[in-house]
């Protein structure tokens, strides 16, 4: 059923859109957890690219890298959520612009 395969740039466009949405989410939302989720979105965009090309050249390396990226996402999520928990416990807030201990 490989008769009319999907053109490559569709995938690229898809991942671009996803990436853009992720960036918007990271930049715009105040809620830290949602920022983290948007970062996950960005990572997924990357994954889609990798997978698309791995399919294009029938080469599994892309998938391997996708696996690494997922691992990375897992680590990032764990640590980030840990930080968020600790922070929430101390400051009773989740809003990024109330995290201003570094502020002048």
């Amino acid at each position: 059923m490989n008769a009319a395969p999907v053109p490559a740039d569709w995938y690229l466009l898809l991942s671009l859109v996803l990436f853009a949405i992720g960036v918007v989410g990271v930049l715009v939302r105040r809620n830290v957890i949602i920022m983290l989720m948007s970062i996950e979105l960005i990572l997924n965009a990357v994954n889609i690219n990798l997978m698309a090309f791995s399919r294009l050249w029938a080469d599994v390396n892309g998938q391997v890298f996708a696996i690494f990226i997922i691992t990375d996402a897992a680590a990032e999520a764990a640590v980030g959520l840990g930080i968020i928990l600790a922070f929430f416990r101390n400051r009773e807030t989740l809003l990024s612009d109330e995290m201003d201990l570094l502020k002048w």
Binding site: V26, L27, M99, D100, K103, W104
Partner: protein, 703 residues
């Protein structure tokens, strides 16, 4: 020679290893071990290495006389690379961690491990109630290790390692009861005095490697053979003398003997093992080991002989008046060592070693017995407070009597043979030396029997509370006494007919070839020269009549000394006091050991202190006063000057700079919001900029 049958010879390196291992265990975590475990481990290890030594000895004996030399080089230790010798030739200095077993070291390891083992057994009983049991045995095994390294080393550097090791152990063990001021002082004294000797020894080693380009004994002999030194070559003499300085330090010869009497502060087994049987004889061993050099330096040998003889007499005279039982034994040790050096000096190396061995037996026995006496009297050392113990502690008494007879040189006990041999050789060399030795023999007999009588005969002068719990020592202390007693009876017999000498022959034979060329006329054919050598080597055998006369004389004077002691200390016990009154000055002089310690204090110690004080005052006055304070004043002045400059010019400019920075920061801080998202925004901005630049590039590339 590495046949499968020569297991022990291939594994001589194990002999020092066992004590080393147990020492490590003890010193690392002996604290946690039971006393039983400690004694089992330590004594066991020493026993095992004794067995190995026996095995090695017999395998060595089994080999043909010519090649009785087993060398085991474990690894190259200091490959120092090539350097120029005195004569400008290139030499390659190599000190390897190598062991060598020849008849000489075979005898030594037998003595060390054997006597050492017995004394270990003895210490089990003796130290049973002491604190720091594991510490004591740890040091003891460390000492065994070092001593074995010393006697097994195949080069001077490794020998020096053992040399320093035994020094350290003796320091540690003398100061074993380090809470006692006198003990720790004695330890320090021993250590420092030894330093003097060791300095000489070290210089000797340097000179050797500079002159002969090697430190291996075998190669030294080879080198001596190779480059024909004339007999009495000053450089060789220098080396020999330097070595002998080291020997005087370690073996307590004039002028460095002062530490040995104080060393009696240590536990008695230590005195027996280190300061009687083994360590102090290291000097003798070393000189014998280096006899190739000495035979090329007759003057050095003369020095050795004279020093030895004087020491013998001198120490003996001091021993006569001591009241502390161990002190007496200590001085007697010194004088016996003097004997050995006398032997070495007159070229009777074998006899020296022989006496070393027998002396190890009976002197070790004496110390152990004395220890047993002290043990019985619960720590009393003063002979004035003893007496009439022969019934109370019979075994101790018998064994000690045997030892005393042996050291007094009564045939057929061990002492007789060795001492007589030495005297005989001395007589052939020079009558004066013989006379000194002879007198000394008498004095030896006298003070030893004085000790015996004061301790065991007469009426008891023991304190009352001590009186009623005098007790014979436990078996673990008595059995070694008995064994040693047997040894000091039969130990001398192996010397009959010069068998012992022949056994040591190879060690001495090496330098036949060394000495040979200078004895024979240069052009003489080999065979002829050999026989000349034989001739030279052959100590012109004294007529049997003369030998008999000498024997008679020495036995006679010994008996005389015994008789005198009997007369003075059993018959007319008032006499000694009167004599002391009559020759009061002389008595005082001798009793205070000729004020040598005071002399040294006055000469060296106080001078050193004065020097220190002088330097201190110089420091205070010149350096602090003129230098530091003056500089301080100057600095203060200059600083006052520079302060103005600082406040106005430097600080001014800095304030200006900081103000500018502040101004800039005030502007730029609005960029640094501390909000994560603003930073992310900036990142995105940067990304955009980068992409824009990339498009710019792409545009260029397209056109």
């Amino acid at each position: 020679m590495n046949g499968p049958l020569l297991f022990f010879l291939d594994h001589i390196w194990l002999i020092p290893l066992f004590p080393a291992a147990t020492a490590g265990i003890m010193l690392l975590f002996g604290r946690r071990l039971q006393n039983s475990a400690v004694s089992a481990l330590c004594v066991g290890s020493v026993f095992v290495s004794f067995l190995f030594s026996l095995g090695a000895f017999f395998q060595l004996v089994a080999m043909p006389v010519g090649e009785r030399l087993a060398t085991k080089i474990l690894f190259e230790w200091i490959p120092a690379g090539p350097y120029h010798m005195l004569d400008g030739k290139l030499a390659n200095f190599v000190a390897d961690w190598g062991l060598q077993l020849d008849p000489l070291s075979a005898v030594m390891i037998l003595v060390v491990t054997g006597v050492g083992f017995l004394i270990h057994v003895y210490s089990i009983g003796y130290m049973a109630h002491e604190g720091g049991y594991y510490r004591f045995f740890g040091y003891l095994n460390l000492f065994m290790f070092s001593m074995l390294m010393l006697v097994l080393a195949n080069n001077l550097v490794l020998l020096f390692v053992g040399w320093e090791g035994v020094g350290t152990c003796s320091y540690l063990l003398i100061g074993f009861w380090f809470k006692k001021k006198s003990a720790s002082d004695a330890g320090k004294k021993a250590f420092i005095v030894n330093r003097v000797g060791d300095a000489g020894f070290l210089l000797g080693i340097f000179l050797t490697s500079a002159l002969l380009g090697t430190v291996r004994f075998v190669d030294i002999c080879a080198a001596l053979v190779a480059c024909h030194f004339s007999l009495g070559d000053p450089r060789i003499t220098a080396i020999a003398l330097l070595f002998f300085v080291g020997a005087t330090g370690k073996s307590a010869q004039i002028p460095l003997y002062v530490w040995l009497p104080d060393a009696m502060e240590g536990p008695t087994p230590v005195s027996a093992l280190i300061h009687a049987a083994t360590m102090v004889t290291a000097g003798v061993y070393m000189v014998t080991r280096a006899n190739a050099l000495y035979q090329l330096a007759p003057s050095a040998m003369a020095v050795v002989a004279v020093i030895g003889a004087l020491t013998a007499l001198f120490a003996a005279s001091m021993g006569v008046v001591q009241n502390d039982i161990k002190k007496v034994l200590a001085y007697s040790t010194i004088s016996q060592l003097g004997y050995m050096f006398l032997a070495l000096g007159v070229g009777a190396f074998a006899s020296g070693i022989f006496h070393l061995m027998t002396h190890a037996f009976f002197k070790g026995l004496l110390f152990l017995a004395a220890g047993s006496v002290i043990h019985a009297l619960s720590g009393e050392q003063d002979m004035q407070k003893m007496g009439a113990l022969s019934a109370k502690i019979p075994t101790t008494f018998r064994t000690m009597a045997v030892a005393t007879l042996a050291i007094a040189g009564i045939p057929p006990l061990a002492g007789f043979f060795s001492k007589d041999e030495i005297l005989g050789r001395a007589f052939q060399h020079s009558h004066a030396l013989w006379f000194i030795g002879w007198i000394t023999a008498g004095m030896t007999a006298f003070y030893m029997f004085r000790l015996l009588f004061l301790t065991f005969y007469g009426q008891s002068r023991v304190h009352h509370e001590v009186e009623h719990h005098i007790h014979e020592s436990p078996n673990s202390m008595l059995i070694p006494l008995v064994i040693l007693a047997v040894l000091s009876v039969v130990g001398g017999w192996i010397g009959i007919g010069g068998r012992f000498e022949h056994f040591l022959e190879p060690t001495m034979r090496i330098q036949r070839h060394v000495v040979a060329p200078h004895l024979g006329p240069p052009g003489a054919p080999e065979t002829k020269r050999e026989e000349i050598v034989e001739h030279a080597e052959e100590t012109t055998p004294a007529a049997p009549s003369e030998e008999l006369i000498l024997m008679g004389l020495s036995v006679g004077i010994a008996l005389a000394g015994i008789g005198l002691a009997w007369h003075l200390y059993l018959k007319r016990t008032d006499l000694p006091g009167q004599i002391a009154q009559k020759f009061h000055g002389f008595y005082e002089l001798v009793f205070h050991k000729y004020y040598v310690d005071e002399l040294y204090d006055a000469l060296f110690v106080n001078r050193a202190k004065d020097l220190g004080l002088a330097l201190g005052s110089f420091d205070r006055v010149v350096v602090d006063g003129a230098g530091v304070n003056g500089a301080g004043w100057l600095t203060r002045f200059v600083s006052r000057l520079s302060m103005w400059w600082d406040t106005w010019i430097v600080d001014g400019s800095i304030r200006l700079g900081s103000f500018m920075v502040y101004a800039l920061g005030f502007v730029s801080k609005f960029l640094e919001t501390g909000y994560v998202q603003n930073y992310m925004l900036l990142i995105v901005l940067g990304l955009i900029g980068f992409l824009a630049y990339y498009f710019h590039l792409a545009h260029h590339l397209l056109h």
